[in-house]
């Protein structure tokens, strides 16, 4: 075992979660690597401190159920109802654009089912493979056609999530009405509800970038440095991601890229594609670590599968 492999499992060892076989292999490495051994001790100490820092919770606010009941009993309980939002596509386009903006969390596409207890679970219905958008074009990315783009908010513009949206439905007000609702107030009556989707996807898959902006200084903050690292080689990784998504689509699995709905039940977000900087344990290793990329597709039945480990 070398240091690189050791670092991937140090945290598990520190938490006592490593299986015996790998733990034995790691211990063998630690005997001849004082740096990794010191890292392990650091992780153990930090874990102990985090654990001790935990304080008991206060009692829950009284009347949670009463407030919830009031909200779900409201006749026009549509304030919390999900709103259909445009389905946008263009993985590589968005990745390339994001390399320019790297503004944080942004959308490749989104789907929010319109459903409640009285409607079928739209978010979990299957998607016919032919309904999946065509694989993304390799190479230089063309901007999305204006006729295919749905109107976006200023925020979406800034995030440069310009992706194709074949058959996109009209945008909801959700994106621009992100202000948290009034507390303890019943849902507003009479809110217009968009029509139900014709072909709800099998799963909503999300991916995200660190929220922090890129900074020149890179004060060592993880998010800053991670974002900077991603920005540096984003064009390379966009190709890899695009390939992975296309391959996934070719297998007819109806992969959709989305972010959690801005409104409506968060549970509608049933899957996730996670971009991770991998292990980023030390500043001198950040650049290397930032290249690590993982995409995990979680199917509606909850099975997570890595579709890209770059």
């Amino acid at each position: 075992m070398n240091c690189r492999r050791a670092r991937h499992i140090l945290m598990q060892e520190a938490a006592g979660a490593l299986d015996e076989k790998r733990s034995r292999a790691l211990r063998g490495h630690l005997e001849r690597c004082p740096a990794c051994a010191a890292d392990l001790e650091d992780l153990r100490e930090a874990g102990r401190i985090f654990g001790r820092a935990r304080a008991p919770l206060a009692d829950p606010s009284p009347g949670v159920w009463e407030s919830v009941r009031e909200r779900i009993q409201a006749p026009a309980g549509r304030k919390n109802a999900p709103v259909r939002r445009p389905l946008m596509w263009g993985v590589a386009t968005s990745f390339a654009a994001a390399a320019l903006a790297i503004a944080g969390y942004f959308t490749l596409g989104t789907f929010t089912p319109q459903e409640g207890l009285d409607s079928p679970p739209a978010a979990l219905r299957s998607v016919a493979p032919q309904e999946a958008p065509a694989p993304q074009v390799r190479g230089p990315q063309k901007p999305a056609q204006s006729s295919e783009r749905s109107p976006v908010t200023a925020e979406e513009e800034s995030s440069v999530a310009q992706a194709k949206a074949p058959g996109a439905s009209p945008p909801s007000a959700g994106r621009s009405s992100a202000t948290p609702p009034q507390r303890s107030h019943p849902p507003a009556a009479g809110r217009p509800v968009p029509p139900a989707p014709e072909a709800p996807p099998a799963a909503v898959v999300a991916w995200s970038l660190p929220a922090a902006p890129v900074t020149e200084e890179g004060r060592g903050g993880y998010a800053d440095t991670e974002a900077a690292g991603i920005a540096r080689d984003f064009h390379l990784r966009s190709r890899a991601v695009s390939d992975a998504v296309s391959d996934h689509e070719k297998r007819g699995e109806g992969l959709l890229l989305a972010e959690p709905p801005a409104e409506g039940p968060a549970a509608a977000w049933t899957g996730g594609v996670e971009m991770s900087a991998g292990l980023a344990p030390a500043p001198d290793e950040l650049e290397e670590s930032a290249r690590a990329l993982e995409m995990v597709y979680t199917s509606p039945d909850g099975r997570a599968r890595t579709i890209l480990d770059y």
Partner: protein, 219 residues
């Protein structure tokens, strides 16, 4: 090592002993429209949901609102819950997503700076809604290091720390809740711990760790 199910109290009204079985029975009734059964589910899980939400959102009012949203969303989406995961995991997934969403909204609207040391957010992460101080076993410098480390973590990293260290969920559950791989959860914990250790070193004004740090033979 970690069993979040043990946190749940078995409700006498549920008529079964095992918390998951009790949940399943209540979910079954709630899915058929029995609001009182859902109310029982709310009472059984409000503490853990509040734990996730209140440790991440500084404003008690906002936290309370998100807690309500979580349960309203759960009610609205109850038919999607098919029982292949524990109800608590499903519910906590909603809580995680709703919390992160609210934080994004708050940051977007400049309502609060979660990284503002004056807001005490980092301390609340560990302390919970009532703002209790850190545990007494934590020294002043450790307390400061935890605060600074948490402030400098991304939302996802902070949430991972909350779920693992403060709410004591196993990594597999955290992965499900956050829609990522177990490896990513470990990676985030790794980074958070390294961050905390670095803050400790900075506060201690040296390398902070006893003993010299050796060179990697094959790095």
């Amino acid at each position: 090592m970690r069993d979040t199910g043990s946190k749940e109290q078995v409700s006498p009204s549920a008529g079964v002993r095992h918390p998951e079985e009790a949940d399943a029975a209540l979910v079954q009734k709630a899915r058929s429209g029995d609001r009182e059964s859902f109310g029982e589910l709310v009472r059984r899980h409000e503490r853990t949901v509040q734990g996730i939400v209140a440790r991440m959102i500084p404003s008690p009012d906002d936290a309370e609102d998100v807690v309500q949203e979580v349960f309203v969303s759960a009610w609205q989406g109850l038919r999607r819950f098919r029982g292949d995961a524990r109800f608590s995991t499903w519910l906590h997934t909603i809580a995680v997503n709703a919390t992160l969403k609210r934080i994004r909204q708050m940051r977007r609207h400049g309502q609060v700076s979660l990284d503002d040391p004056e807001s005490g957010t980092a301390e609340r992460l560990a302390a919970g809604a009532a703002g209790q101080p850190f545990e007494q076993a934590v020294s002043a410098e450790e307390k400061a290091a935890v605060r600074r480390a948490l402030q400098n973590l991304s939302d996802n990293h902070r949430m991972t720390v909350v779920l693992y260290y403060f709410e004591e969920h196993p990594c597999e559950e955290i992965a499900r809740m956050m829609g990522c791989s177990v490896g990513t959860v470990w990676s985030r914990l790794h980074y958070a711990c390294k961050k905390l250790k670095q803050e400790l070193r900075d506060i201690r004004g040296g390398d902070g760790a006893p003993g010299a740090r050796g060179e990697r033979p094959d790095a």
